[in-house]
Amino acid sequence: MMQTIFFVFAAVAVGAAINVLVQKHVMYSALSLILMLTAVSVLFILLRADFLAVIQVIIYAGAIMVLFVFVIMLLNLPQDEDGADRLWWLKFLGIPLGLFFLFLVIATLWNVESSVDTRAGISGSAGAIGHSLFTDFLLPFEATSLLILIALMGAVVFAKKDL
């Protein structure tokens, strides 16, 4: 049962990710990515990372992708424009290199103890994550606030024409 659910959602994730590349219109790509994000969050649930699963949906699907969709609607491009594709040969270079990379990764993963039962895992509850975040990872957490601050300023400066 668990394995069926895993395979269904893994297939959805991979299919949606491929669809992101295949679609001509960026809007469809973005929507496909939302599907992939939701599928990955279901996989998080299977890994007992409940908290991260909902956070992933809230931040990724509920905020980041809304921003993408807004920008796509804002610019309202008719189609994926082609034309000056100076680096067309990268496609032919990219695919074999990518497959080689995949081969390397899987070869490495072969050596990982892949038989570990995910059932024996830890619970990724909000309390456990909060505890770790606000004691062990305090410095990165505070640094995060600076990152957000800088992103806020940078985005406003770039986006506003007349300041």
Partner: protein, 339 residues
């Protein structure tokens, strides 16, 4: 697998799902009737009276009428997204009922992250609106979709921040446990509901909830004098009905969440025989939600609409700092009380 399906626990779960799904659907249908009746009374009209006694069969007649209406798909629309948008809007709206505790045992599932699950699900509801407006390929829907989605995300922020104050007191994300945490009393006689501990958060929550569900006085998505019907201008037949259903479902969800977070959930005086005792919590819960819905409808009947820039200004410049200040103050008090 088969044993699991025949398990009595599973059958009980299935029964709960059917009861809640059916109950919610019926309630949503009669909400439209209630709204029309109340608004009519406010405006000194009788409201629907023709179909059945007091017009009680009106929702059924409406549903049948929707079913037989022409299903128009405008030219130049992105057909797939146009058809998918109502479903995308409806599914999240209904899905949040799966974690709401209607009573101590009448809850489909009590997630450890129940509150965040509801927020995650409602944040997906934006896509129904955006897609509906964008795929219609028409001007009013596009403008309506942009406006109402911008409004929704703005007020989602203060909605999210306003409940943090409650969480600081309850220290849990599970909805059932939040209700349980409010079951003591203050000073011996006032119920320890969070509305008394977090009045500011409650105020922010109620205002944001009204804006979040695109209802008057914040219904800029479909301010009919300027944008016709907002993002669902082009929609007809059952697709339109699904958008409406999603809107009402969202209304019930935020009301139920307000009841859980601030009004003690299913808590209420218990009396009578054992059978009544098991039913009473659900009755209290439904009554509290009903008060909220009534307030919603009354607002629609009496309050004039704001202007769009006023709305955005109010959300970003007043509600957001207010809810942040509430968090800081609450956390300071809790920390001092704890140490």
């Amino acid at each position: 697998m088969i044993e699991y399906l025949m398990d009595s626990e599973f059958l009980l779960l299935l029964l709960k799902i059917i009861v809640i799904f059916g109950g919610v659907m019926g309630a949503l249908a009669y909400l439209t009737w209630l709204e029309r009746k109340v608004i009519a009374r406010v405006q000194m009209r009788p409201g629907p009276t023709r179909v059945g006694p007091f017009g009680l069969l009106q929702p059924i007649a409406d549903g049948l009428k929707f079913l037989f209406k022409e299903d128009v798909i405008p030219t130049n629309a992105n057909t797939f997204l146009y058809v998918a948008a109502p479903v995308v809007s409806l599914i999240p709206a209904l899905l949040s009922f799966s974690v709401i505790p209607f009573g101590p045992s009448l809850q489909i599932t009590d997630l450890g992250v129940g509150l965040l699950f509801i927020f995650a699900i409602t944040s997906l509801g934006v896509y129904g609106i955006v897609l509906g407006g964008w795929s219609s390929n028409s001007k009013y829907p596009l403008m309506g979709a942009m406006r109402s989605s911008a409004q929704m995300i703005s007020y989602e922020l203060s909605l999210t921040l306003s409940v943090v104050g409650v969480l600081l007191i309850a220290n849990t994300l599970s909805l059932a446990q939040i209700v349980v945490s409010q079951q003591r009393t203050l000073l011996g006689f006032i119920p320890r509901w969070n509305i008394f501990l977090q009045p500011v958060a409650f105020l922010v929550y109620v205002i944001s909830a009204v804006a979040e569900t695109n209802r008057l006085p914040f219904d800029f998505a479909e301010s009919e004098q300027e944008l016709v019907a907002g993002w669902h201008t082009e929609y007809s037949s059952l697709k339109f009905a699904m958008f409406m259903l999603a809107e009402y479902a969202n209304m019930v969800t935020v009301s139920a969440l307000a009841t859980i977070m601030f009004l003690g959930g299913w808590a209420g005086p218990m009396f009578g025989p054992a059978l009544l005792q098991t039913a009473l919590p659900t009755v209290w819960f439904v009554l509290k939600v009903g008060v909220f819905i009534f307030f919603y409808v009354l607002m629609r009947a009496t309050v004039p609409r704001l202007r769009y820039d006023q709305l955005m200004k109010f959300g970003w410049k007043f509600l957001l700092p207010l809810s942040l200040a509430n968090i800081v103050l609450t956390s300071l008090i809790v920390a001092i009380a704890a140490s």
